[in-house]
Amino acid sequence: MAAKPRVGIFDFTGCEGCELNHLNFEEQLLDILEHVDIVEWREAMDERADELDIAFVEGSLSTPDCITRINAIRRKSKILVAVGACAVQGGVNAMKNLQPIEAVREEVYGEDKYLFPTLPALPLSAVVKVDHEIRGCPMTQIEFLKVFTALVMGKRPVETDHAVCVECKLRENECVYDKGMVCLGPVTRGGCAAICPSFGQYCTGCRGLVSDANPAAMEQILVDHGLAAEEARKKLQLFNANQLEGTQS
């Protein structure tokens, strides 16, 4: 067998919950370490590396420094995998893109608003080529393992492109709408085994929209179930502010 792939784990603007989820592979972590050499991971180790076979990157890009760093990571990595909603879509961070940036900075830092540089929160793919995506907020562990095993075996990972409804139906859950709630499952990408509806919640859309989504019809469904048009739009924007047309500032 060839040498073990050299793997790096990186983070940008986000909550680092996806990285924590790497450490939360308690049972599989030792197996994972069998197949790869983790050569750079600031959150867990001191060492740094010059060349990587696979870079797993979480977080959105939101400062000038982020842009410099992601370019450097891309240069030294053969395969770059975006991990989690922030890296794939911009995540909740992108909600700030919906408001004038001046107002946002002032709200938090007051008159010191110019001390800390900020950009609209961007997905990695807005700046560099992303080879594969692992979605979710936090990233879905089952999907990580699928992508990981495929890459280590030299195969192309299969991307999920069906709605959360599919997996919710496979679990025979009562439809969230039949409980008098609204849900973004019909247009949100599955791969999460419909975990939120399975725990009594509605789907918040964290895994992004399916590739041929019909957001206008989704908004109409939300309105038909009692939301005002503006509320419906906001509901969809929570994790998808960058994906919905006409919402970027």
């Binding site: 699928k146 299969v158 069906h162 709605a163 009562e174 439809c175 499952g185 041929d212 019909n214």
Partner: protein
């Protein structure tokens, strides 16, 4: 003496008797206002007066997910999964769901016989029950009345305070041994009328759908549709599936998994190389409806839809298959009228 009286007071005794014989699957409440077929532990949890279950009993013969085989990458060996007959009693099945199973029997025995499904289909006993049609049922329009006993071993006709047990097969008669129920000599109760109708005489099926391919209805429906696939996944006669290989993180072995799929999903119509041959929701909606009323029906002469109403009841966008078909019928009639 093929009709017996089962008073409500005797119902739990009846169910307990069945549970003592075999595993029993029956409708039970799930969540706020939904029902599912589930194994019976407690006879009191069984609900015989229910509108429809989330999934039909198809799930026991064609499970939502199943392992087809397991493999070992080091030894290059594989072993097919063991499949057992579903040797159980299905209590409280609605006529449309039994018809759906019979239709699946046809689909899975045509051409290459499907081993897993057909193995599971051996040995099941069915006890039907009548139901009160709600605003989604339309079994009457596809030739499946409420009290249709086809495929049943016993059938329970709902009375005010009990059921008439109709013995349909010898297996059904055998099942009642030792229960000692009184004979029922009166008239069978009249079933309630359907609220929904498809206005499609069977003879016109071929003509209507031959014309309907070009209808504007598909684009109209596509505007409301989000392509979530729910209509496929809750349909008792849908049987499409996807097969995926999953490798363990040890990289030593894995399994081949099969799970339900549906023609409303983009992934379903995507083939090797990335081509998507039904690349929009209009084409997918049309395909879905045509699978129920034309492609299979042209060979069998009957609709492949059983009128359960699930695809409409569970569609968050409010798309109704009844409205779609009636619109096609209407367009057909108008076109014919124009010719005259």
């Amino acid at each position: 003496m093929d009709r017996l009286l089962l008073e409500d007071a005797d119902l739990f005794r009846f169910i307990a008797h069945l549970v003592a014989c075999k595993t029993v699957y029956a409708p039970q409440r799930k969540g706020a206002d939904s029902y599912v077929f589930a194994p019976v532990d407690d006879p009191q949890a069984v609900v015989l007066d229910y509108p429809r279950t989330l999934h039909s009993i198809k799930k026991y013969f064609l499970p939502p997910r199943e392992e087809l085989l397991s493999f070992n990458l080091r030894s290059n060996a594989f072993a097919a999964a063991e499949v057992e007959p579903v040797n159980a009693i299905f209590l409280g099945v609605h006529s449309y769901d039994l018809h759906a199973v019979l239709k699946l029997d046809h689909n899975f025995s045509q051409g290459n016989a499907e081993r897993n499904y057909l193995t599971r289909r051996q040995g099941a006993i069915f006890i039907g029950v009548s139901y009160r049609p709600d605003r989604f049922h339309f079994g009457g329009s596809v030739g499946i009345p409420v009290a249709d006993t086809t495929g049943c071993d016993l059938f329970l006709h709902r009375l005010d305070r009990g059921h008439v047990v109709e013995i349909v097969s010898d297996t059904g008669r055998e099942l009642l041994r030792g229960l000692d129920l009184p004979a029922f000599t009166g008239e069978l109760p009249r079933t309630a009328d359907f609220e929904q109708h498809i206005y499609l005489p069977q003879g016109k099926l071929t003509e209507v759908f031959a014309r309907g391919y070009q209808s504007g209805i598909w684009e109209e429906v596509a505007e409301k549709c989000v392509g979530c696939g729910t209509c496929n996944l809750v349909c008792p006669t849908c049987y499409c599936f996807n097969v995926e290989d999953e490798v363990d993180v040890s990289l030593e072995g894995g399994s081949r998994q099969r799970h339900w799929d549906g023609c409303m999903l983009r992934e379903f119509s995507q083939v090797a190389g990335g081509e998507v041959f039904r690349n929009n929701l209009a084409a997918r909606q049309r395909h879905r409806v045509y699978r129920k009323f034309k492609y299979i029906s042209d060979q069998t002469g009957e609709p492949w839809c059983v009128g359960c109403g699930r695809c409409t009841a569970y569609c968050t966008a409010g798309i109704s298959i009844v409205n779609i078909v009636n619109r096609l019928v209407q367009e057909h009639d108008w076109a014919n009228a124009a010719k005259l």
